[in-house]
Symmetry: C2
Subunit: 667 residues, 2 copies
């Protein structure tokens, strides 16, 4: 880190890149005082801030420190903010070491360049390149529709305040990668808003005084994601059984599930597991089918499941369930947690109950070490020991800001961290059962810490439609933005989930989504919240046969996928990668958010529009082979036949997997 | 004004009422620096502010002044802001006499009481009592739908960014009346946002340093509106001919208009005038029928109109037209204005052209005295001398913020004032023609200054529907909020105007609107932007006969209405009044925004819902007589028969007009 004083200001360089420029006219830091308001309705938040003070900290004093410089910013001696610019473990760090007590907001300006692109900030469904917009970072429901100009968003907003917007996400993160080849990570969990709209600077607004902000540069994007994951942690490999086929999301009882399995296997579907979210019971609300939220086998709905799991396992089929960090008030787990004081409290010291849509649940207070251990015990005993090989670890993004936690920290600060803590509960439960290589889980909510604590992400609740901001297409930027910050294993509900306001999943949508799913590290279906309204994988033979083919594409590619997953766990190089990660001299690749590299050698350009028989793709300069026809391309804009069953996929002619790729034609 | 220093702060009282309380912990004033962004699309604005500094000016020094105190606010000597608290012409005034140059934002906190209500701030369509919300004050299109939860608003937003919100209005004003019995007026035209959400204070945010803020107290609301209009001016009386009946909004040429008139008169309609907005030509766009915007008689569309006007006048029927402050580029007026340099300029010094929906027009630059005179001349020559007895003086709220004006003042500052300047052009043109008692005009856009420069307001472009925020009902709070700030003559397009997204005016809506119109100072119809989609006053005999009856109700009441209009012009006591203006001890009356007093002795509770045959009204304690049945009420909640033709109207038993009111039964 180089500190250069000049005129009446200074510049800070990391490895030769200017990241901060402070002058009296354009100060790099503003500090102030705000009071936030968070209104939550079922995980959808309206957040606003009443800023009663914001001061440009124009004045500064510099002192030498042991390894760097201490700069005390202030304004006419007001609001002193002491900052250490230093290096720590080989990283460039801005440490906030002292400040006026009253301050609780900072706005830090980083130097920007006009042609710079920015990626990351968690899971972003609408924009992969973040330049030109601001991104509030607050974990929440992702929204239904996520575009104020669509009818679905309007309906969701009108009825449930649930429409969302371009930035709403289950997994926001204060971590980004710049095309100036550095990453920046803010070590804090408060509400933030990163504004990349300005030509000359990025403004990081933080509703707290963070401990530190970390930077590293890299020679390449590969090096940068390696460094990000060196800092934040890496995901483990997936259990071997995952590569045996798809996990079918079915429900309705032991017999129903097995019948669906048998029928599908008979038609050639490669099945690695059954995922039955209602294994612990169900309830019906106006939203559709919901679960019981008392995390134990429902032996009435699933008679003989304990034995059936053994039979299934012997057939090479795993059984997966579902859990989330809440306990419904009707259940014995709620009673146990409540009696032991394991639940978060309201202002009066009573259990805080969250309304989840016509039913209530308590919030297990993971800041209480006993509650944390207890919930791990629930997972170990009722899920792992029962025989589950995995589960959806749902939710994490709802922590209300007006509840009281055991550790005494404000829920405003804990809110964004909650998903990572919830991930850790799952991770440790599996580790302590000694089953990390056999049992997995997938989450939609995330935070800093998910990198090392969450085995894999799933994209949450897409609409069962073709909308850009909340349908099939939106899953691609979601995977890519996460890939830049160290979460390299991503998948989505094949077919989408949210079935409301007249939406119904069509056969074509299911098939196109399955075609994309075959080129992700994990294939899993979901019936959606209103299963009867949706086209399912077994709704007719044509669909099932098509899906069976896609499952075989996936199992055929398994050795290649496995190697990519291994690379992710060892180096943090994601399985799904943006094109520029390997083609950084290709200007156009920086703007592409609906194609991806699947590992090093496959390029996938999913068909995300209805009624298409051909598809236009962009290929960076290389030697590409079209998977289905063998036609060769050198790069540029290409148009290929893309009827159902033949998703636009290309592989590198010089790949060491060429022979394997060829086998896909035989499925 | 009483200035009381105590502890480390001070309090300011006006006539014994505490209006300011300054302490170090809760300073009364914040100052800062912001840079606003205004995006305009056809009069709909997205306004945002980037505040780079906001400081609580905690420190203060007090000096005695000749007539008051000078307080210099600052923060550690930064951002000094010198304020004089004084009296001027018997009013309490806060004068901003000196400030740091860079400052361009202030936030002033006035003392509030929990149970206080606030009224005014211009023409507010959604909320009469402003407490509990903030109100951005920026003149613009009012919006189509004005409620983000309605389908019409969604459609308007999606297609044209035109949906609006609860606060969007053609006529915002930095003037309000508190139930603590004072008024407050900010003497400035910048963007403001008055926030009445807080229990303890009102926060006036002003994007400029105003010259002064004026307060007066009163013993009653009558006294307060008298004082407001003493300060801001009063409207003249209306020409006598107005009381002869309704002004029918018709178009399509001389013969068509006269035919419609004859047919209506034959059916008993009392007609005072024909209002033909297309007298100067028409054009068709995707929005519907639009006008030519070159303000001279179109003798092709209106052959013989010059002579016909004389014939009509002899029959006791006036002819009214239309004008606005823009000149379409196709016309000779544009050419003349452009050649003389009378148009506002863009950054390159060329005529600034505004897109008005598939056509363009120049903006007459009224800050250029020659342009101002020239446009008055246009009105005198082409409108008044031609024989028009009145016109809609449309628009005024579109002034783009990126144009350049002759007077060198930023368009950001001139924007809000524009409607008042446009009003003055009309007023002076009529005055100079010596026809103030014969010719009138009506405007939708307004500002401080409209009180004395605009003869009467009309409510703008309601939807042809029953929606609360943009339909029939919305006109009532609009009239009442304006009534509190000195614009006491108000009316609306009978039947509404905006006909889009499947809306069609129904027969019932037209009839209910006409019933309300009979109890306003001016009755006028509008065909709407898509006349063929709408039910019109002459669409069938039943409607015409009903409308004829309502016109006779109006003409029967004329002496009473005239007296109320006179009171408005002499004292500023509005024609339509909120109930609490005369029943200030009635707690409930402060929350009533869909009933009004029409003059002192009539209470109107318009039916604003579809399919009603009875109606519930609230009457303050008095002796009330139901207009149609003679049934007497003492006050409280009442329910009356209210079939079509019998709007819920009550009069005071002790009124000196009882005999006149009785005659209404004979119409």
């Amino acid at each position: 880190m180089q500190f250069v004083q000049e005129n009446k200001g200074f510049k800070i360089f990391i490895d030769g890149k200017e990241i901060i420029h402070h002058t009296e006219e354009n100060p790099c830091i503003y500090a102030g005082i705000g009071k936030a308001t968070y209104e939550m309705f079922r995980g959808n938040f309206k957040v606003s801030d009443s800023v009663c003070e914001k001061m440009a900290l124009k004045d500064f004093d510099v002192e030498d420190a042991q390894n760097g410089k201490i700069v005390t910013f202030s304004r006419n001696k007001l609001n002193p903010l002491k900052v250490l610019f230093t290096e720590e473990d080989g990283r460039h760090v801005i440490k906030f070491i002292e400040n006026a007590d009253s301050l609780n907001r900072i706005w830090l300006r980083l130097k920007a360049q006009k042609e710079e692109h920015i990626y990351g900030c968690g899971e972003q469904f609408s924009h992969f390149d973040l330049r030109g917009k601001n991104f509030p970072l607050w974990t929440s429901e992702q929204g239904v529709g996520r575009n104020k100009n669509t009818y679905i968003t309007f309906m969701a907003d009108s009825i449930d305040q649930a429409g969302g917007d371009y930035y709403t996400t289950f997994f926001p993160a204060p971590t980004f990668v710049s095309t100036r080849k550095y990453y920046c990570h803010v070590d804090n969990t408060a509400y933030m808003d990163f504004d990349f709209k300005n030509e000359d600077y990025h403004e990081l607004q933080i509703w707290d005084i963070p401990e530190k902000i970390i930077f590293e540069t890299g020679e390449s994007y590969i090096e940068l994601v390696e460094k990000v994951t060196e800092l934040l942690g890496r995901q483990p490999e997936l259990p071997e059984w995952v590569y045996d086929g798809v996990v079918i999301g079915v429900q309705g009882g032991t017999e129903t599930c097995v019948k669906k399995l048998n029928n599908a296997v008979e038609k050639g579907l490669k099945v690695s597991g059954i995922w039955a979210q209602d294994w612990q019971g169900e309830r019906y609300t106006s939203f559709g089918k919901r679960l019981m939220w008392n995390w134990q086998w429902d032996s009435k709905l699933y008679p003989g499941l304990d034995e059936e799991i053994k039979t299934l396992n012997a057939r090479g089929v795993k059984f997966l369930g579902y859990i989330n960090p809440y306990v419904a008030i009707e259940g014995n787990l709620y009673k146990e947690a409540s009696e032991n004081g394991y639940l978060a409290k309201d202002a009066e010291g009573k259990d805080y109950l969250v309304e989840f849509g016509e039913f209530y649940a308590g919030v297990v207070d993971f800041t209480n070490p006993k509650a944390f251990e207890w919930y791990k015990g629930v997972i170990k005993k009722y899920l792992i020991d029962f025989g589950l090989s995995g589960w959806m670890a749902d939710f994490g993004e709802y922590l209300p800001t007006d509840l009281y936690l055991y550790n005494g920290v404000s829920a405003e600060i804990m809110h964004n961290e909650w998903p990572a803590i919830w991930a850790r509960v799952n991770k440790e439960a599996i580790e302590e059962s000694g089953k990390t290589d056999q049992v997995t889980y997938f989450m939609r909510a995330g935070a800093t810490g998910s990198q090392k604590n969450c085995a894999m992400m799933w994209a949450g609740d897409q609409n069962v439609d073709w909308s850009m901001d909340d349908g099939l297409a939106s899953v691609i930027p979601a995977a890519l933005s996460l890939s830049m910050i160290g979460c390299g294993i991503h998948h989505s509900d094949i077919g989408g989930y949210t079935t409301l306001f007249g939406m119904k999943r069509t056969k074509e949508l299911f098939m196109r989504w399955a075609e994309m799913g075959a080129f992700t590290p994990f294939m899993r279906t979901h019936e959606g919240n209103r299963p009867l309204d949706n086209w399912q994988f077994d709704s007719d033979d044509e669909t099932l046969l098509h899906f069976a083919k896609m499952s075989r594409v996936y199992t055929t590619l398994a050795p290649y996928i496995k190697a990519a997953v291994k690379e992710n766990s060892e180096k943090g190089i994601p399985v799904q990668r943006p094109l520029f990660m390997h083609y950084e001299n290709d200007e156009r690749s920086y703007g592409i958010q609906y194609e991806y590299l699947f590992g090093r050698d496959i390029l996938v350009a999913p068909v995300y529009e209805e009624g298409k028989a051909t598809w236009k793709a962009y290929l960076p300069e290389d030697e590409w082979v079209h998977l289905w026809t063998g036609e060769e391309y050198k790069g540029g804009d290409v148009e290929v036949e893309a009827p159902i069953g033949f998703p636009p996929v290309f592989y590198r002619k010089n790949s060491s997997y060429v022979e394997l790729f060829g086998k896909v034609l035989e499925v």
